[in-house]
């Protein structure tokens, strides 16, 4: 578990009008829980609800409106979450389209999502999670950043500051291009702030990847993937790759000043930490572009386990949520994954696979049949 053996845990879950559920409540044990049931039984919505209660967004859909049960006005999720070092809290999330989120902790309303969400509390694998390997650079960047938010102090703020300064520089360059009273030279104060915040972002990403590289290679091999697994930061601009943390801020500031003309012509800042990517593969094999579906799935799972290790060592052991992953794995890989996730922390697995026998394959797991074992009374 974490530096102090701490771990996140969800002990109770209630949902109202989430996807196909009208009302449902579920008590969850501290170890491994397997949710079984046919497709469309609502297993995934239960996993989704845990993620909503932890970080306020769905792992599957960027549109919160998609989650509201058809014909209903709003959804509501309540979870009892054990916060490492803080004890149990009751967290509420309500969402109504065009009105937005209503958040509370222990009955006290919380105005901002940023203050309410708990970075690093959950790690999710949904079939869409392959985006973390084969998706656009933004998906890979986000996968790394959400772990670093919990591990690197000040990382969340640095990312937000960088993004705000970047938006100001872009606005200025666009207005300078159209001759709208702005001059490209006036970009300097925004570049200074981009460089300061960007240096913190880059330092955090470099640190995080350095700590993750070895666990990734080990998990990739353990899960039956290739040996020689590697993750590397493909930093933007690449010419700053060799610049150490101490010199990076000044180097990036000079780089931006030098690129004003070209960036103004493009109407945006073409390079910087907002364009960083993550190289994922083994030896010289780029799994992002060349990997088969199976290879990418194994890489995504190895990445998830490496993130789990990093959070466990540097922050606290997150709740692992594995949605519909076993059906795609052969028995050997299945066994290796079960071994990896039964580390004493809380893990919730969903499966529709009739060939999978959780009682036998996952020793000690609590098996919940969905919807039969879920209390769906009003």
């Amino acid at each position: 578990m974490g530096p102090s053996g701490a771990s996140w845990r969800v002990s109770a879950l209630e949902l109202r009008d989430v996807r196909s559920w009208h009302r449902a409540s579920l008590v969850l044990g501290p170890g491994v829980t397997v949710l079984t049931g046919h497709n469309g039984a609502g297993k995934t919505s239960l996993v989704e609800a845990v993620v909503l209660a932890a970080v306020g967004a769905s792992p599957r859909s960027g549109q919160m409106g998609d989650l509201v049960r058809h014909g209903e006005r709003a959804l509501h999720v309540r979870a009892t979450l054990a916060v490492p070092g803080r004890g149990e809290t009751v967290r509420d999330l309500g969402y109504q389209p065009r009105v937005g989120r209503r958040l509370a902790e222990d009955g006290v309303p919380v105005a901002s999502l940023a203050a309410w969400r708990r970075p690093g509390s959950v790690l999710v694998f949904v079939p869409e999670e392959l985006r973390a390997v084969k998706g656009p650079p933004a998906a890979r960047r986000r996968g790394l950043d959400r772990v670093l938010e919990a591990v690197v102090p000040g990382f969340t703020e640095a990312v937000a500051t960088y993004g705000a300064a970047l938006a100001q520089r872009n606005a200025l360059l666009r207005r300078a291009k159209t001759g709208d009273g702005a001059a490209v030279a006036d970009a300097a104060p925004w570049e200074a702030q981009m460089a300061a915040a960007g240096a913190a972002v880059t330092r955090g990403r470099r640190q995080g990847i350095a700590m993750m590289a070895a666990p990734f290679a080990r998990w990739l091999a353990d899960l039956g993937g290739a040996s020689g697994g590697a993750v590397r930061l493909e930093a933007s601009p690449s010419r700053l790759d060799g610049v150490g943390d101490d010199g990076w801020q000044d180097a990036f500031r000079a780089y931006l000043a030098d690129r004003r003309g070209r960036d103004a012509a493009a109407g945006m800042t073409l390079a910087g930490p907002h364009r960083d990517d993550l190289w994922i593969g083994w030896d010289d094999f780029d799994a992002r572009r060349l990997g088969s579906q199976g290879e990418q799935r194994t890489a995504a799972l190895a990445l998830l386990l490496a993130h789990r290790d990093l959070l466990r060592e540097r922050a606290a052991r997150p709740i692992l949520l594995l949605d519909d992953v076993f059906s795609e794995l052969d028995p050997g890989r299945r066994h290796a994954l079960v071994e990896a996730v039964t580390d004493g922390g809380q893990t919730i697995i969903t499966t529709a696979d009739t060939g999978f026998e959780p009682q036998r394959e996952v020793p000690g797991a609590v098996v919940v049949r969905v919807p039969d074992d879920v209390d769906a009374a009003a």
Binding site: L172, G181, D186, A192
Partner: protein, 188 residues
């Protein structure tokens, strides 16, 4: 009611309450309030020197000859002056920019009273410009821009950190603001 709800801190419900209150009280009192507001609008104008509010030709601070003319404190809005005055740690004059740089909102250097600031620094024998823009991203960018524009002409200082980031100066407490003034550091 619509006019009332445009006032800062007055929402639709408060505006309604105020309107009912005004209707209930004797009409002489409402007329007296109206006259006071009209007088305010007619008498109050931007101070031609510092661009804060003035009733007479100059604002009371610019009119005060006992202040230290070698110190000039730059703020975004007139509302930041009172909190700085309350700390009793500052005895110089002020300059109100009228906002902060923000390309997203279309605010460029030309939209702020920066040319007027440079002219004052030349004309008034200022030795130190204390930049007291808000500790926000736009306030920081404005501070950096001013430091560039003033470099080599005058000593430039910035309030020490420790102020709550993202907030306006008018919401900072006296003690913190006083410490930030005393601990102001030179901007390179």
């Amino acid at each position: 009611m619509a006019e009332l709800s445009r006032l800062p801190g007055i929402g639709a419900r408060s505006a309604q309450r105020l309107a009912f209150h005004l209707l209930r009280q004797p009409s002489e009192r409402s007329l007296a309030l109206a006259a006071a507001l009209t007088g305010l609008a007619e008498r109050i104008h931007p101070c031609p020197r510092c661009f804060s509010f003035a009733e007479d030709e100059l604002c009371p601070i610019c009119a005060d000859q006992r202040r230290d003319p070698s110190l000039l404190c730059v703020v975004e809005e007139p509302s930041a002056i009172l909190p700085i005055e309350r700390t009793s740690e500052y005895r110089g004059y002020y300059h109100v920019l009228g906002g902060a740089l923000s390309p997203i909102d279309g605010v460029d250097p030309d939209d702020l009273r920066i040319a007027e600031l440079l002219a004052r620094v030349e004309a008034e024998g200022v030795a130190e410009v204390v930049i007291a823009t808000n500790p926000t991203m736009t306030g920081e960018a404005t501070a950096l821009y001013l430091a560039d524009a003033l470099r080599g002409k005058v000593r430039i200082t910035r309030l020490a950190s420790g102020l709550p980031v993202g907030a306006d100066l008018e919401h900072a407490d006296e003690l913190t603001l006083g410490r930030a003034l005393l601990g102001r550091r030179e901007l390179a």
